[in-house]
């Protein structure tokens, strides 16, 4: 059957058809849908793990027991899971083990632009890279065959434009390999020095065998066209090059990006007049070519920054640009914003108002850094807010204890905030940690986590109690506030900052986009009472704007009635009482 699927759904289909039994992942754009779609197949056990390291180790355990297993993560997630990956390279597998990792060239939703191919090289494991949804499915299956044939975990590298692009996929049947019985094998699986030292030669021999495979496998294919231009490309770049040149160039399409073939590249180079490597991010293939003595043009012509496209590649080759029309008037940018009714807004307003230094973390709340709230001072990686605050406080020698906090989401806290909090308790800083508990993993599109009380299927699960957890990690002062209540929130922040010991404030209110959260009636501005003081504008709420009359107005199609602006208005001009504004149809209220 032919279906239009995003690349991530096609990977999930590949996992299903390959007979995968266990999938454990942590969400992260652009990898999240792999696991979400995998969870729609009842034959696969799927779960959200607290972080990528736990996910990969869970997949390892399943492989050890003899079944095919997978995990999925974004590029920076592989940093977290790097520890098990490097030694899994030594142990190899029992059941096939595939690690899906999604890079984000162009940083659509990421904090950096790292190239995960370096991990494949450093850990000495094979890595496949598909170029459309059909290949996503086929390569996911092939990755298991390679994993088992060569006794290695196999990486499947995705990029945003493959992961989130839909194309046609032909679906097939699920075939589950025969279950292996568990046999103890300490020489292979106990990586103490005496055993590991014997496994390292195996890893080197395996790489040599994988290179042989790369020379002959159709996963790396040559498409001969005009021989004036030869191009080596992978993934989305292959598609862009085909778009630009069609038969007007010869292409070596690399499907296995590690290890790379040697002879195949030399043979291809010999057939073309000039050879180019078109690759996003780092010059990985280019370096390989230069190492094996093949002359190529690479990063001197193609930037290491951002995403490519047919346009950028045509430009690099000096081809004429297509005719186009643009407006001369400047169009204001439209950055992402915290939603109307976002529970983080009330807390950020209080922090901003009191000029508190705030170490931030990874999640929707990173948007609190934008104007007008500008509430954040740093965002580094998952969990760094808490550990960073500890270091900041130690360095400040007491001067930061009463004016500096950190903010971290519920899911991020479970991911890698707990160890930082343990450090605060153990090594005694007087930090105030704010957990923005919106009862979901928000930015990636609403995934459950250990604090929500539900699992990936939406079935009830053990709900970890954040208050008890923080207490048990050695924090005595733990309190819960509702960020919709500004007075209560401000009181809590001031009191905990004043305290002479470490504390945790749990700012608790479910994400307003959750299905079970029913929006309240929108609030209205009474234009007779509004005195244009613009205090409500300090919230950065997308529902509030200043109208042509200079008075505040609320877009009733967006407002969810959270009431935070109502608490701010010193003239009582905002309320649920309908006024003249309410009589206008919403369309006319918008932006006028």
């Amino acid at each position: 059957m032919k279906e239009l699927m995003i690349g991530n759904a096609a990977v999930a289909r590949g996992l299903y058809e390959a007979g995968v039994e266990v999938v454990s992942s942590y969400p992260g754009t652009p990898s999240t849908e792999i696991t979400e779609f995998a969870a729609t197949y009842n034959d696969i056990y799927c779960e959200w793990a607290p972080n990528e390291k736990v996910a990969m180790e869970t997949a390892f355990g399943a492989s050890l027991r003899g079944v095919r297993a997978a995990c999925a993560m974004k590029h920076v997630g592989l940093n977290v899971a790097a520890d098990p990956l490097f030694t899994l390279s030594y142990t190899g597998v029992t059941g096939g083990l595939v690690v899906c990792v999604a890079d984000d060239p162009g940083m659509h939703s990421s904090q950096n632009e790292q190239d995960s191919r370096h991990y494949a090289i450093a850990a000495k494991v094979p890595m496949l890279e598909p170029a459309d949804s059909a290949e996503c499915k086929e390569f996911a299956k092939l990755a298991f065959d390679i994993s088992e044939q060569f006794d290695t975990p196999c990486l499947l590298r995705m990029c945003t434009r493959i992961a989130h692009a839909q194309s046609v996929v032909e679906t097939g049947e699920r075939i589950v390999p025969e279950k292996k019985s568990y046999e103890k094998n300490p020489q292979k699986f106990i990586m103490a020095p005496a055993n590991a030292i014997r496994r390292h030669p195996f890893v080197e021999e395996r790489t040599a065998k994988l290179v042989e495979y790369a020379e002959t496998s159709p996963v790396n294919r040559i498409e001969m066209g005009d021989t004036k231009i030869g191009i080596i490309a992978t993934g989305a770049c292959y598609q862009y090059c085909k778009e630009v040149f069609g038969e007007g160039a010869s292409i070596l399409k690399i499907g296995m990006v590690n290890p790379l073939p040697v002879q195949k590249i030399r043979d291809f180079a010999a057939k073309v007049e000039k050879l180019y490597v078109v690759e996003e991010l780092d010059g990985v293939i280019e370096s390989h070519c230069k190492n094996i003595g093949v002359e190529v043009i690479g990063k001197e012509m193609f930037t290491p920054l951002g995403e490519f496209s047919q346009k950028s590649i045509a430009e690099a080759f000096g081809l004429p640009a297509k005719e186009t029309v643009t407006a001369d008037t400047q169009i204001p940018v439209r950055p992402p914003v915290m939603c109307s009714g976002c529970p983080h807004r009330g807390m950020f307003y209080i922090l901003s108002k009191n000029k508190i230094t705030v170490l931030g973390d990874i999640g929707c709340y990173t948007l609190g850094s934008a104007a007008p709230l500008t509430a954040l001072d740093s965002t580094l990686c998952m969990g760094a807010s808490i550990s960073g605050l500890h270091g900041f406080a130690k360095a400040a020698q007491g001067e930061a204890d009463h004016n500096t906090v950190c903010v971290i989401g519920d899911s991020t806290f479970m991911h890698s905030g707990m160890t930082g909090l343990a450090n605060i308790a153990y090594n005694g800083s007087k930090a105030t940690v704010i957990i923005l508990d919106n009862s979901i993993t928000g930015m990636t599109g609403h995934q459950q986590n250990p604090t929500t009380g539900y699992n990936i299927k939406g079935d009830p699960a053990t709900k970890i109690n954040l208050e008890a957890l923080c207490h048990s990690l050695g924090i005595n002062r733990v309190r819960v506030v509702d960020p919709y209540n500004l007075e209560e929130t401000e009181k809590a922040v001031k009191e905990e900052l004043a305290a002479d010991e470490a504390s945790v404030i749990i700012s608790r209110r479910p994400c307003v986009l959750l299905k079970y959260v029913k929006p309240k009636k929108p609030v209205f501005v009474d234009p007779d009472k509004c005195r244009s003081c613009k205090r409500c504008m300090k919230l950065g709420c997308p529902s509030i704007h200043i109208g042509a009359d200079g008075k505040a107005a609320i877009d009733t199609t967006l407002c969810v009635g959270c009431g935070v602006c109502e608490q701010l208005c010193p003239f009582g001009a905002i309320g649920h009482e309908e006024s003249t504004m309410a009589e206008l149809p919403p369309a006319q209220c918008v932006g006028k």
């Binding site: 459309d132 692009a165 194309s167 598609q239 496209s309 047919q310 640009a321 643009t326 407006a327």
Partner: protein, 192 residues
Amino acid sequence: METKGIVICGVGGQGSLLASKLLGKVLVNEGYDIKVSEVHGMSQRGGSVITYVRYGEKVYSPVVQSGEADFVISFERIEAARYAHLLRKGGIIITNTQRIDPMPVIIGAAEYPENILDELTAKGVQIEAMDALSLAQQAGSVKAVNIVLMGQLAKHFHIGYEKWIAAIEQTVKPQFVEMNKKAFELGYHFGE
């Protein structure tokens, strides 16, 4: 045939993913090769969002670049102008006239360019502007702006009306089928 390009743009949360899903369904049913490129994650939160649809005999790239789009479908006025450069010569903008202020305008750091569509028209761009929000409300939900615009787009295709309706039935949840059919109809007959 040469590969065709359609751009669907708007403000995160306005339902561009459903519009591209419907369009994809129709084009797959017609037997075209097709690629649709979306961006998920951070930009969904009220930011400017764009989806590319390309179809033809054999489609390689999943993205539409400057001068390659036959249609720009926009859910908001200035978003239409933001992506107008993607239109090829003779291409058409179909846009909702709704104004949604971006944060720089809300906080007074930038002006909303009220007459941006007139400026593009003066430059020879063909624009079909409609109050899709009111039509969506008429159909039963402000969320149906996406399907109203799809109705207007459908007029430019030689694909039977009933095939679009069939695709709606295959794409949206059963409880929303009637409302979306109504929205599609209102968009389709707009301006007649």
